[in-house]
């Protein structure tokens, strides 16, 4: 299925999404990768307030190239999500509804998606120039000193992603690969 969706995400939306569905996202999403996640979760562990309210929101695992004069943002494709596995469940438990990245998630993340009604979405890795065009505004909202790893608020229009992990345990990487796996004589 293909859906045009807007952020923030609701339980009703998440309930209708299944692995393999294609989404065009519009609205505000937040960027965050390794260093920002480490800081956010340190705050969660201390019971302190986060610089962004993650409830209902979508985090995009990306560290863009610097914007040239006149550009909104530089090249901005997804980074490998597995490095955020150690942190994501805690943010999902706080109400985070979606994550955009590339590559497989571990069982703890998949369980947290089920438990919290959330989704993991894949954007095309290595298509940073293409994806950049769907970002219409960008501003740093936290941890500016982290440079490419700062938390940015992005406004996106029809940002293309595919549902990799849904709240029912579906996994597009596993299902897609199974379909084309074949034996070879060796």
């Amino acid at each position: 299925m293909e859906y045009k969706v807007t952020t923030p995400f609701t339980d009703e939306l998440i309930e209708k999404l299944h692995a393999g569905d294609r989404l065009l996202i519009s609205g505000v999403i937040y960027t965050g990768r390794d260093a920002a996640h480490k800081r956010l979760v340190a705050l969660v562990d201390k019971g302190e307030l986060l610089p962004i309210d993650v409830k209902g929101q979508v985090i995009y695992f990306v560290g863009p190239t610097p914007a040239k004069p006149g550009e909104v943002i530089g090249s901005a494709g997804p980074t490998t999500s597995g490095r955020m596995d150690a942190y994501s469940p805690k943010l999902l438990d706080l109400g985070l509804k979606g994550m955009i990245g590339k590559g497989s998630r571990n069982d703890a993340v998949k369980e947290a998606l089920k438990r919290n009604k959330a989704v993991y979405l894949g954007a095309t890795g290595g298509a940073g120039a293409l994806l950049s065009r769907r970002i219409v505004a960008a501003k740093v909202v936290a941890y500016e000193e982290l440079g490419p790893e700062a938390i940015r608020e992005l406004e996106v229009e029809d940002f293309p992603v595919v549902v990799i992990n849904d709240m029912y345990g579906g996994d597009l990487y596993v299902e897609g690969r199974k379909q084309y796996e074949r034996g070879v004589d060796s």
Binding site: A35, V62, G63, P64, T65, P66, A67, K68, E71, G74, S75, A76, G77, T79, T80, G82, K102, G103, S104, G122, T124, G125, G126, A127, G128, A129, L130, S132, R133, L146, G147, P148, V162, L172, Y173, E175, G176, R177, K178, Q179, Y180, E181, R182, G183, V184, S186
Partner: protein
């Protein structure tokens, strides 16, 4: 003896870094076009179409192909009849990286104290520099920005000689299989066979500068490359890991004799944004 000012190396490194990150090689583009025809998965075809569009956009708008503009891997082949003047060669290469990544608006992805504070060095230095002295009076420079996602899926195995050819193939295919969707497939599989621990890894990295679609001059290795490619494509990983018959762009092997006790096999994974540019001074 020919004199060459290292400032020219700085200039070349800076330009090659920006060009490599912006202009995808014709060999890789040609592969995407061919694979978009032959791929059986509709989703896979769509992804390959996106990669072609991305390459076109990057070229036309001077935007990096990928936000991960990598650590700057630099190979220098220095003619033994060249006298480098005007400063420290390594400093000149780093200055080229600083200039290219700064003026070219490339991402700075190098962090110092890697197991501790991980503080960004701010200018993407140091270059990952490999030098070789060769006959002649030229200097060949290859700049090959290397992203972290694919690098992280690489592996080296100090295998037992008893594991033989089949054991080596299994190790390589298993590395690709475990990497799955993470390193941005379709990938190039760079392999170093034999040598010592560090030579195997170096060969695997260096092999990635070969042209996609080129045939290994050693028929024995060419046959091995084909065999590994077939096995990898049969894994079903597909473009972006969403399933399909295009998991691998190419397999490149370099080889050296090994110690009587050793059988090193290094696998360096290269994402589909296979970036390298070269110049001869």
């Amino acid at each position: 003896m020919r004199e060459l000012d290292v400032a020219r190396i700085t200039e070349a490194v800076a330009k090659l870094a920006v060009d490599a990150c912006t202009y995808l090689g014709d060999d890789v583009v040609a592969f995407f076009e061919k694979a978009a025809e032959s791929e059986e998965s509709e989703t896979g075809k769509d992804i390959l179409g996106q990669l072609l569009e991305n390459a076109r956009l990057a070229r036309d708008t001077n935007m990096p192909l990928c936000q991960d503009t990598g650590l700057a891997v630099v190979f220098l082949e220095i003619g033994q009849d060249v006298h480098l003047v005007g400063g420290d060669l390594e400093a000149a290469v780093n200055e080229g990286v600083r200039k290219g990544y700064g003026e070219g608006y490339l991402r700075k992805s190098a962090v110092a104290d890697p197991i501790g504070a991980r503080v960004n060095t701010g200018d993407n230095t140091p270059a990952m520099l490999h030098t070789r002295i060769v006959p002649g009076e030229k200097v060949k420079i290859v700049v090959a920005p290397k992203g972290g996602g694919a690098e992280n899926m690489s592996a080296i195995g100090m295998l037992k000689p008893s594991q033989g050819r089949q054991g080596a193939i299994d190790f390589i295919v298993d590395t690709v299989s475990k990497a799955g969707p993470n390193p941005c497939p379709p990938i190039i599989v760079g392999v170093g066979l034999g040598g010592t621990f560090e030579k195997a890894a170096y060969m695997a990295k260096h092999s990635l500068t070969r042209e996609v679609g080129s045939t290994n001059p050693d028929p024995r290795l060419a046959q091995l490359e084909d065999e590994i490619e077939k096995r990898c494509n049969a894994l079903g990983i597909g473009p972006a890991g969403l399933g399909g018959i295009t998991s691998v762009i190419d397999v490149f092997i370099e080889e050296l004799p090994a110690h009587i006790a050793s059988m090193p096999v290094a696998v360096n994974v290269q994402c589909h944004s296979a970036r390298h540019k070269e110049a001869v001074l």
